[in-house]
């Protein structure tokens, strides 16, 4: 057996408590405890909110897309009222006015927010850095096909590229085209094909051989 003795310190990731206890942290603790003590909010409500925030991510959007691919009635609801479609499968995008954009052979939708970084957080999580970059925001409304090509998405001239500038109160979820060869797959399997970037519209969904 190898005789192993420690000659060197292990790389050490600081613990939560190793950071400074800043004024803001103190303020948060004081305010939280006071709100609970005065019965303005309850501990249970707080935990529910934490959980909801932690649950934000592209797996939510992917569930919607996979269901739209497999259930025509759900796709119809997505077209008419995408916020209701989110709620109907237990997602609670409370503040969201959602519009679903279907990618087809005729139309390719891609989303940007030129003014800031509006993004459907509950369904896609935090936006990627490139989505917030000035380069993406200014270039995709000017030369969308060039930007899409940089993501590896090359579209024929016969496909209309439709850029959506999320400039005010609506939020957008792209429904990518259903990959060929995925017929008969379950919703859970289909959801694996739906990436965050495909729901922004810069790339297609994964091909089945990419899984």
């Amino acid at each position: 057996m190898h005789d192993y003795t420690h000659h060197h310190p292990h790389p050490n990731q600081p613990d939560e408590e190793d950071g400074p206890f800043t004024e803001y942290r103190l303020l948060e603790v004081a305010l939280r405890e006071l709100l609970i003590e005065k019965q303005v909010i309850t501990q249970a409500e707080l935990h529910k909110t934490y959980q909801m925030m932690d649950d934000r991510g592209p797996h939510n959007g992917a569930r919607m897309v996979a269901k739209a691919w497999s259930d025509p009635a759900y796709l119809d609801l997505m077209r008419r009222d995408a916020t209701a479609a989110a709620k109907s499968i237990g997602l609670e995008p409370t503040w969201l006015n959602l519009i679903a954009l279907e990618n087809t052979d005729a139309i390719h939708n891609v989303v940007v927010c030129t003014l800031c970084s509006c993004y459907p957080w509950p369904l896609l999580g935090l936006p990627p850095d490139w989505y917030k970059s000035r380069t993406y925001r200014s270039e995709v409304v000017r030369n969308p096909r060039k930007v899409l090509a940089e993501f590896g998405t090359n579209l024929p001239e016969t496909t209309e590229v439709r850029v959506h500038d999320s400039s005010a109160d609506m939020r957008y979820l792209v429904v990518p085209k259903r990959p060929e060869g995925s017929e008969g797959w379950s919703e859970e399997e289909l959801a694996e094909l739906v990436t965050r970037d495909s729901m922004i519209g810069v790339v297609p969904a994964l091909a089945i051989e990419d899984l």
Partner: protein, 96 residues
């Protein structure tokens, strides 16, 4: 609720105006004509909200579809490419 002044398919021009203060009409869309894609509902006026006022009465918000070629005369993509943007009613005028 204020009734929307425009209907789906109406031709509109986004005002070519440059007032001071906060607004949510991107510069590159100003002066461009397009068509109403939908009325999204009425929303608090962001130009008021930005200064901590209540933004009421709510203003009709539309999605307007603009042809890329009109916005960018040297656009090199396909002629059928478009852009859709959300514009508040007071930024729109009928395009006859």
């Amino acid at each position: 609720m204020t009734d929307p002044m425009f209907s789906v398919g109406d031709k509109v021009r986004i005002r070519d105006a440059y007032p001071i203060g906060h607004c949510r009409t991107p510069f590159y869309t100003r002066g461009i004509t397009g068509k109403i894609e939908r009325h999204c509902g009425n929303f608090a006026n962001p130009e008021e909200l930005a200064y901590r006022r209540d933004g009421q009465p709510a203003v009709p918000l539309y999605r307007v579809r603009l042809p890329m070629r009109q916005m960018w005369p040297d656009y090199t993509g396909a002629p059928l490419d478009t852009l859709e943007v959300e514009i508040f009613e007071h930024w729109l005028e009928p395009d006859d």
